[in-house]
């Protein structure tokens, strides 16, 4: 069964460093999302991406965040200068198209900023 895969499963980084979280969405999917979940809190929307551009973003997704689909298969989230409060699980999700509402989620990357 096709699935969304995320790497790495756990990333530890020092405050101020840049991190790149990677996702491989399901191959025929067109919409891509990043969410985050701070420990004990709810899953929060960060950004959606369609047709090689950001279609929606939340207030959390500020200038330190960026997304990219560099090669037609990977979908990345870059955090330029990490802060302690960026420590969270980051989930990538994808879905096929506008009329199909089911979003499939990856297993997540646990980011720990020290």
């Amino acid at each position: 069964e096709p699935e969304v895969t995320q790497t790495p499963s756990h990333q530890v980084t020092q405050m101020g460093q840049e991190v790149i979280l990677r996702c491989v969405p399901i191959s025929n999917h067109l919409y891509f999302y990043w969410y985050r979940q701070i420990l004990g809190q709810k899953v929060e929307f960060l950004v959606s991406f369609y047709n090689n551009e950001i279609s929606e973003k939340s207030e959390i997704f500020d200038d330190q965040f960026s997304v990219e689909r560099p090669d037609g298969s990977n979908f990345t989230l870059k955090i330029r200068s990490t802060k302690l409060e960026d420590s969270a699980m980051y989930f990538c999700a994808s879905r096929t198209g506008y009329m199909n509402t089911e979003a499939f989620f990856g297993q997540g990357t646990r980011l720990t900023v020290v």
């Binding site: 969304v4 919409y31 999302y33 969410y35 809190q41 709810k42 899953v43 929060e44 929307f45 959606s48 369609y50 279609s55 929606e56 699980m89 989930f91 999700a93 879905r95 506008y98 509402t101 089911e102 979003a103 499939f104 989620f105 990856g106 297993q107 997540g108 646990r110």
Partner: protein, 114 residues
């Protein structure tokens, strides 16, 4: 007012019980109503979705939506220990550009004990 509200629980029930999980939302533009299940340290997985008001049944699970009161329910019949997880209510609507973006509640933790 929070956009999506759920009682975090935990809700503890014996095996075989009927479980009722509930959610309220504030945005009247929401058109799609999803329930996701999340096991510890895993990504959310879609259980059910409905469009507009009404009921939908899938095996032991029934989703119910009342748009007039902005109230969403998930019923689980004959609950099993394997149903122990956090259940996330995720209504959503067509945002600008037509993309669907699930907005998650905090989730209700369910424990089904043998």
């Amino acid at each position: 007012q929070k956009e999506v509200e759920q009682d975090p629980g935990p809700l503890s029930v014996p095996e075989g019980a009927i479980v009722s999980l509930n959610c309220t939302y504030s945005n009247s533009a929401f058109q799609y109503f999803m329930w996701y299940r999340q096991y510890s340290r895993k990504g959310p997985e879609l259980l059910m979705y409905t469009y507009s008001s009404g009921n939908k049944e899938d095996g032991r699970f029934t989703a119910q939506v009342d748009k007039s009161s902005k109230y969403i329910s998930l019923f689980i019949r004959d609950s099993q220990p394997s149903d122990s997880a956090t259940y996330l209510c995720a209504p959503g609507g067509a945002a600008s550009g037509g993309s669907y973006i699930p907005t998650f509640g905090r989730g209700t933790s369910l424990i089904v004990h043998p």
